[in-house]
């Protein structure tokens, strides 16, 4: 355990860990606040007040409605007499940027993210509701990609390290470099072309190429029926409802997007694992384990891998970032109804509220993931002290 007193620092190991955690937590809070400033500056700070509104106004609305929308969005003051006065930025009509930020931050911290203009409801549903409806889809896609990343990434990394500087290693390293060089949007379409043109059975593609519930594919069940809501994640809900047809179709629809999404993370993971495995395999305890006559796989998986896994955990933040950014492209290519496709739609509809929520939630996930990794590290590696 890491809490052993450190002889060199006079037994202050425990106290130092607490201090470190506290410092780390305070820093996280600071970073989150700074992220809110950045988010606000690149959305409402950059947009002129009248432009920030355009996504939420509809044709044929009276000026009175427009003014109330402007007040609801937080750009017009409550005392502003008319919408035209706001447009002409009459004195005391436009809320100053700092006040806007302050009010926005208060609303946001209360969970009020305004209304989203995304279909199907168009500016009548709260942004948080729209986001919460789509997030489970992205979550299940990210989970499938994470499983694929771990499987393939570990395989490639271990192959590389145990056969270093031989053909399997060269192939694995080359595939990592190629993985870094493939645009996800293009690869998604290449998979679609392959499945539709060359893997079709009696005119039906083997796997679905769009949507979250496969239809019109050779392996799909046509009408899987309904499922209940337990976890909001369709993949789990279908299992909990006992609807295996629904589960099967959901799973099939995730295969191609998940492959596309995990290309870069696989490259990241296999590279890190390769170098940390090579490092671990050159240690004395491996020599000892081998000289004891342990079988090869025991040495590799029990002794070397356990020690090589730590640097790979550090890459979690990077991999999460890759998923959260990648879904914007992948969900668009596969018309998958998650937050990535929604963010793109929000950008086209100038739905500032949704974009702000998307940026902040993405950043929150990454910051918290990094925090957990850092804390986990202290527990996993007894050599580390702060």
């Amino acid at each position: 355990m890491p809490l052993r007193p450190n002889s060199q620092s006079g037994g202050a190991g425990l106290l130092k860990l607490h201090e470190y955690l506290l410092r780390r937590l305070l820093l996280t809070i600071f970073v989150l606040l700074a992220i809110s400033v950045i988010t606000f500056s690149i959305t409402r700070g950059l947009l002129p007040p009248a432009t920030a509104l355009t996504g939420y106004l509809r044709l044929g609305e009276t000026d009175q409605t427009k003014l109330s929308i402007a007040q609801a969005v937080g750009v017009a003051t409550k005392s502003c007499p008319s919408f035209s006065a706001f447009l002409n930025s009459q004195k005391g009509c436009v809320v100053p940027l700092w006040d806007q930020y302050f009010y926005w931050l208060v609303d946001v911290s209360k969970g009020d993210w305004g209304y989203s203009n995304l279909p199907p409801t168009a500016a009548t549903a709260p942004t948080l509701t729209i986001f919460a409806e789509r997030f489970p889809y992205t979550l299940q896609l990210a989970m499938a990609s994470a499983a694929l990343t771990i499987l393939v990434g570990f395989f490639l990394g271990i192959i590389s390290a145990t056969r270093a500087n031989r053909v399997p290693d060269h192939l694995s390293r080359l595939s990592a470099i190629v993985g870094y060089s493939i645009p996800a949007f293009w690869f998604g379409f290449i998979l679609q072309i392959a499945v539709v043109l060359y893997l079709a059975v009696r005119g039906f593609p083997l796997l679905p190429v769009s949507g979250a519930l496969g239809t019109g594919c050779a392996l799909c069940v046509a009408n899987p029926g309904q499922i209940g809501t337990y976890t909001t994640i369709p993949l789990f809900d279908s299992l909990l409802s006992g609807n295996l047809a629904y589960f099967w179709d959901t799973l099939l629809a995730m295969i191609l997007p998940a492959i596309t999404l995990s290309i870069v993370p696989i490259a990241i993971l296999s590279r890190i694992l390769r170098s940390s495995m090579i490092e671990a395999l050159s240690q004395d305890y491996i020599l000892l384990a081998r000289s004891k006559g342990l079988r090869d796989w025991v040495v590799i998986y029990r002794h070397a891998l356990r020690n090589a896994i730590l640097p790979a955990i550090t890459a979690c933040g990077l991999i999460f970032a890759s998923f959260l950014g990648g879904v914007v492209v992948v969900e668009y290519v596969f018309t998958y109804p998650g937050i990535g496709a929604a963010a793109l739609a929000a950008s086209r509809n100038l739905d500032i509220n949704f974009l702000e929520l998307d940026v902040l939630v993405s950043a929150l996930i990454i910051v918290v993931a990094n925090l957990i990794v850092d804390v986990l590290y202290v527990y996993l590696d007894p050599r580390i002290r702060y």
Binding site: L27, F30, V31, A34, I35, I38, T39, I42, T43, L46, L47, P48, T51, T54, I177, V178, Y180, S181, I182, P183, A184, F185, W186, F187, F189, I190, Q192, I193, V196, L197, Y198, A321, S322, L324, G325, G326, V328, V329, Y332, A343, L344, S347, R348, L350, I352, L355, D358, V359, S362, A363, I366, V367, N370
Partner: protein, 315 residues
């Protein structure tokens, strides 16, 4: 002539040095492959207007739209449209009946140019901010680091998406400047981090002490000596990142953030092909394959350079 004869030992050493370098390149296939692809790409980009008529992308020829005339491969598509007339379309024709190969060649310079500008700007910002942070230290270092933390916490595609949305609304007529700016915003923190750690390692070395003792100024020590001594890792990262920037840049133009989609650009070309992806798959395949090739070239070059420059790997 007389000079070289007067100093034969020096030329001999120089020749040995050159041979040694060539050997490093030969023993390092990724470096060689990367160098070939990158120099090929740069040549195509520089002379694209000579290889292909620079205005040919404006000439539309609708009768041959979406046609294929290369007999080597026929895609297995049942009713493939054969090209009318005598023109040979090695990579097929696009939805305006233009020769796809010509359009791709015309598209390469823009992608390369944007990537170079983005990486160069990020390096300049990185040298200024990262160098200052490491050299001055204390609260300046802490402040600069925390700012990079904030930017690194936002996924690059999400950050770019929001920046392009709002900047595009605020400055609708600024062309590719917005997308370049957004990419610089995405990439600068990585360089600040990289250069900061380089400078921290470098400023402990005795030569910095020596420079200080002879009275060299801080700015001079930092920019003329420390940065110059830590430039190779920056080049390596720069090469790798050119490959990365091309991917993100083309992703954004693919998503429709190109200020003028009719200008040939690889991401926009893929986007233009997706409506007919199952009728004319070459419209998606080849522009994307060009992106992969360019990006792979820079990644191999960067990777090979790292191995060649790292003394631990030197044989």
């Amino acid at each position: 002539m007389a000079q070289t004869e007067a100093n034969p030992e020096k030329t001999g050493r120089r020749g040995a040095e050159l041979r040694r370098r060539l050997r490093i390149v030969r023993q390092n296939p990724p470096l060689l492959a990367g160098a070939i692809i990158v120099s090929g790409t740069v040549l195509v980009a520089l002379f694209s207007g000579v290889i292909v008529n620079p205005n040919s992308y404006k000439i539309l020829n609708f009768p041959s739209a979406l046609c294929w005339s290369n007999p080597i491969y026929t895609w297995g598509i049942p009713n493939l449209k054969a090209c009318p007339g005598k023109t040979f379309y090695p990579l097929g024709a696009d939805n305006y009946g233009r020769n796809l190969l010509d359009v791709i060649i015309l598209a390469v310079p823009l992608d390369l140019e944007v990537s170079l500008v983005v990486v160069a700007s990020a390096i300049v910002i990185g040298i200024t901010a990262g160098g200052t942070a490491a050299y001055v230290g204390g609260w300046v270092d802490e402040a600069i680091l925390r700012v990079t933390d904030v930017f690194l916490a936002i996924p690059s595609l999400v950050l770019g998406l929001v920046l392009l949305t709002t900047l595009g609304q605020t400055f609708p007529k600024s062309g590719f400047a917005i997308i370049t700016f957004a990419l610089v915003i995405i990439w600068w923190p990585y360089y600040v981090r990289l250069i900061r750690s380089q400078v921290i390692a470098e400023k402990q070395k005795p030569y910095v002490q020596a420079l200080r003792s002879v009275g060299a100024g801080n700015v001079r020590i930092l920019f003329r000596h420390i940065i110059r001594n830590s430039i190779y890792p920056i080049f390596v990262q720069g090469s790798l990142d050119i490959g990365g920037v091309i991917l993100v840049f083309s992703a954004f133009t693919f998503l429709g953030f190109s200020p003028s989609p009719q200008i040939p650009e690889l991401g926009s070309l893929v986007n233009a092909g997706i409506d007919n992806v199952f009728i004319a798959p070459w419209l998606v395949l080849f522009p994307g394959l060009t992106i992969v090739t360019i990006s792979l070239g820079f990644n191999l070059l960067g990777d090979g350079l790292r191995d060649a420059l790292d003394p631990r790997f030197r044989r």
